[in-house]
């Protein structure tokens, strides 16, 4: 069984080049996620949360600072660090199974992973839809397929970039529960980007509250409430008020 990896983010700053001007998006981000941690990155939209995930995935190098996985610097992409995006980004020309086998196929290990692909499809409840094309799926099913595609790679760090952001509220609730039970079973390190305070508190052990762009860590909040969590739990409600206050959105009680 593969376990989660330890992620160290050391003094990471990042800027985009925008029309010859440097646009800073991340500023001096410092944190450590222990193996098997579920960390939520919470912040206003457009604050640079997703950029941080791209850096962890190795899709881009940071302008400054260092990212380490189990003490080894990240130099590029690796299947052990997989992202699930806000859009399912399924390849429309491939069936659900074809999409799920993308990782093994890209690495030339399709035959060795056949059983794992089927297992991932049944894990997300799509075994009956293995031959369906993405346009035939509902939003929730497409996100499940995208999750299966990520899980096939046995990620040690699974990055979730607002994966439930575009789902209807019922599907969203169901998938939040599924994500937690999946994480409890597989014990990967999870990094969840979200702008939904409730979602962060329901899912994560730790919530890193980020500021507006350029994003800095405003607070590092531990969520000790045992699972399964209820959204009306008194502790969570208090934390929610605290976080909203940090974001300057405190509700007039």
């Amino acid at each position: 069984m593969v376990s989660g990896a330890r992620l160290e983010v050391r003094g990471v700053s990042h800027a985009f080049a925008l029309e010859k001007r440097a646009l800073p998006v991340l500023q001096a981000i410092d944190f450590i996620a222990e193996p098997g941690d579920f960390v939520a990155l919470l912040g206003p939209s457009g604050c640079g949360k997703s950029t941080l995930l791209r850096l962890v995935a190795g899709l881009e190098p940071p302008s400054e600072g260092q990212l380490l996985v189990d003490g080894v610097p990240i130099t590029g992409t690796d299947p052990s660090r997989t992202i699930m995006f806000q859009d399912p980004t399924l390849f429309p020309w491939r069936t659900v199974r074809g999409n799920a086998q993308l990782g093994p196929e890209a690495r030339g290990s399709l035959a060795a992973n056949a059983a794992r692909i089927e297992a991932a499809l049944s894990l997300v409840g799509l075994d009956a839809f293995a031959e369906a094309y993405p346009h035939q799926l509902s939003g929730g099913m497409a996100q499940r397929a995208s999750l299966a595609r990520a899980l096939v790679n046995e990620p040690r760090i699974l990055m979730l970039d607002e994966p439930l952001g575009k789902l209807d509220s019922l599907t969203r609730l169901a998938m939040q529960r599924e994500l937690v039970s999946l994480w409890q079973r597989e014990r990967f390190t999870a990094l969840l980007v979200t702008h939904d305070v409730e979602e962060a508190l329901l899912l994560a052990d730790r919530v890193l509250v980020l500021s507006d762009r350029p994003a800095r860590i405003r607070a590092d909040i531990r969520v000790e409430t045992p699972r399964p969590r209820r959204r009306d739990d008194a502790g969570l409600v208090a934390l929610r008020e605290e976080i909203l206050a940090l974001l300057g959105l405190a509700q007039a009680a």
Binding site: L59, D78, P79, I83, T89, P92, W93, L102, H135
Partner: protein
């Protein structure tokens, strides 16, 4: 499950066996055309008048049979596609009658510039050997040229879309040269290639090369960056990204290029055969014009049109197979 394609579905909701009035009208229209052809006297001395009448009567008989069959539940489903063609069958019968009256019967349209329908039939019955040979030669010329141009255009388009360096140098050249009609290169081609066959193949290939290149290129450039990111995080090599992401994502656009290239290749084919090649439909038309045998020319033109639309149909079938994942084209 039965679902038709979007277009067909819009035109003809499939119905159970019913009375098919359009079919009866169409059948009678063809019988009427046959009667007019057979019974009215020809204004001039023409052959094959009775053969044409028999042919029209035969068509009419078949359509009437189909109209009768439409009311039989066991046959209705098989005839569903023919039912869609009902209005066309009426119009075609009317057009044939009008054409026959304007040429053969009352000579409103002057001979020999306008040929009577039976004269075309006469070409097909008497000169089929030469026509068939011309079709064969045309196909032998156009298909390799088209395939060559399309293949090179496809590879070149991918290279342009993928590599910034190739794009930088190729883009202005393709922009400048591409819109020129391929036939404008005729003198250069005949100078550069020793045989007229080589020159024609080059021109036909050039005609399909340009649209396929441009549309493959634009297809590859339009591929969402997110697809590449997904594949890269899973360990895909650049070669995998080209083969398994860029190319399949660009295929809908590539097919548009293939359609445009097909039309361009056929028009170059005819010009090339008229200019230098001593075989094929273009040459046949040129030769027929030289003898003022306009019926032969029209017959060849008709064959050319059928050949071209046949090729387009094949390409459509291929696209529907390869791109069945696209919404609206999916058949179960």
């Amino acid at each position: 499950m039965s679902a038709t394609t979007l277009g067909a579905g819009l035109l003809a909701p499939s119905r159970p066996a019913t009375f098919w009035p359009t079919g009866w009208v169409a059948g009678l229209a063809w019988i009427a055309a046959a009667a007019a052809i057979a019974l009215l006297p020809d204004a001039d001395d023409l052959g094959r008048t009775q053969a044409l009448a028999a042919l029209a009567a035969g068509v009419g008989g078949l359509v009437l049979l189909a109209a009768f069959g439409s009311s039989v539940p066991a046959l209705a489903l098989r005839l569903a596609r023919l039912r869609e063609a009902g209005p066309w069958l009426i119009v075609l019968a009317a057009a044939l009658t009008a054409w026959e009256l304007a040429t053969a019967k009352y000579a409103v349209l002057p001979r020999p510039f306008f040929a009577a329908p039976q004269s075309l039939l006469e070409v097909f019955t008497d000169d089929y050997a030469r026509l068939g040979e011309s079709v064969w030669h045309s196909l032998l010329l156009v298909l390799p040229g088209y395939a060559l141009g399309a293949a090179i255009g496809f590879l070149f388009g991918i290279a342009m879309g993928w590599s910034r360096l190739v794009g930088y140098w190729a883009h202005p050249v393709v922009r400048l040269i591409g819109p020129l009609p391929a036939t404008a290169w005729l003198p250069v081609a005949f100078f550069a290639f020793s045989s007229s066959r080589g020159a024609s193949t080059f021109l036909i290939a050039l005609a399909s090369f340009f649209p396929v290149t441009v549309l493959t290129w634009s297809g590859v450039s339009a591929v969402s960056k997110a697809y590449y990111d997904v594949a890269r995080t899973m360990g895909a090599s650049p070669w995998f990204l080209v083969r398994k992401v860029a190319v399949p994502a660009a295929m809908p656009s590539v097919f548009v290029g293939l359609f445009m290239g097909l039309g361009a290749s056929f028009s170059v084919l005819v010009v090339a055969e008229m200019m230098g090649v001593k075989a094929g439909l273009g040459w046949y038309m040129q030769w027929a014009q030289g003898w003022a045998a306009y019926a032969n020319m029209y017959a060849a033109l008709l064959v050319l049109a059928l050949m071209c639309s046949g090729a387009v149909t094949l390409l459509f079938r291929l696209r529907d197979r390869l791109l069945s994942w696209q919404k609206g084209l999916v058949r179960w």
